[in-house]
Symmetry: C2
Subunit: 203 residues, 2 copies
């Protein structure tokens, strides 16, 4: 029957049909929401008949799980890379903002990340626990970034609430950002850094 090979958190690039399905599902879940997206929508988007995706996935929920884990893995990796770039606290922070926004708004990963943010609640408890575990690591990274900024005297508040405010400002960009708008992702990242820290010091 079906192979159903469970992918690791960051799926290795296998150029098979399964990956296409995940990508199409992500696009549709992002555009219409999980419940309003039908199997027939997804199948049609990859030129299959409505029964065929079930060769690759046991259930529709499983497709959502794949999309969400892909999104979580990608944003986690991108921000972690920026966090360990060894620059100054301020530059590191801004690089993390750029990485986060790049996954959320950039063409490659935005459907996965946006689905992660808005549709995770439709997962069953088991899959939701998987996501929460990864999210905890993710939030710890941001908490550490704020701690470093405070140690450097750049911000006054590195509490949990401050992290939630920051992630709110970040994640809410999904609601208003338009790729053809007047601000680039890098510009938004810089201005958010200024918003949180204040203008860079003049010597």
């Amino acid at each position: 029957m079906s192979m159903q090979k469970a992918p690791g958190p960051v799926a290795v690039e296998e150029p098979n049909r399964r990956t296409e399905i995940v990508r199409a599902a992500g696009r549709l879940f992002h555009a219409k929401g999980y419940s309003a997206t039908t199997i027939r929508d997804i199948a049609g988007a990859v030129a299959m008949r409505s029964g065929s995706p079930f060769y690759h996935f046991k259930t529709k929920h499983d497709m959502l799980r794949a999309v969400v884990l892909e999104g979580m893995g990608a944003i986690n990796a991108a921000v972690a890379l920026a966090a360990n770039s060894g620059k100054s606290p301020r530059a590191t922070f801004e690089a993390m903002l750029r990485a986060h926004l790049g996954q959320l708004l950039g063409a490659e990963g935005r459907d996965f990340a946006a689905t992660l943010l808005h549709e995770s609640r439709h997962l069953d408890h088991e899959a939701q626990a998987e996501v929460v575990a990864l999210k905890d690591d993710f939030e710890a990274m941001w908490q550490k970034a704020l701690r470093d900024l405070k140690r450097a005297g750049l911000i006054a508040d590195d509490s949990h609430l401050a992290r939630l405010f920051l992630l709110g400002a970040l994640n809410w960009t999904v609601q208003w950002y338009r790729p053809d708008g007047s601000k680039s992702i890098a510009q938004i990242a810089r201005q958010l850094a200024n918003f949180v820290i204040g203008k860079p010091r003049r010597p």
Copy 2:
């Protein structure tokens, strides 16, 4: 046949069954999402049979419209009241934060406000335009609040982007706030004010 009296943006308190349906619909739309909520869910929540809600509403979309307009009207009114309280810029700002968070997180209106934030995209174009018109007024209020803060020398940036960051931090609270948590709405409002402005000046 049916009355279908279109309510004003802020519905006058008519203690009829229609109001109960809107309230139940709001609760369910918030909890499960619009598409995942069935007419039978809503009818069951007010002890009706599945066909009876259609005496009060033409379509399921119309129920969503009622919920969303109720939410928009309520948050608009609450924040406008705080904005015109005639206090100092900083106190006015914090009062607006409290009002916004009160609607978003407080027991009375959270289902309406949360549905407004997350399910508006399921409205048809016509109803969506109604919401956007009200939202423009709402955002103008916040923009003015930031302008006043900048005039008073309390913040450095009152740009559109700054407003979007602020509203992001505010609206994202829906994702993490728990009524039984350790922080009250007023405490969150105060800390967000500090986050944006900096600590209140010591004389």
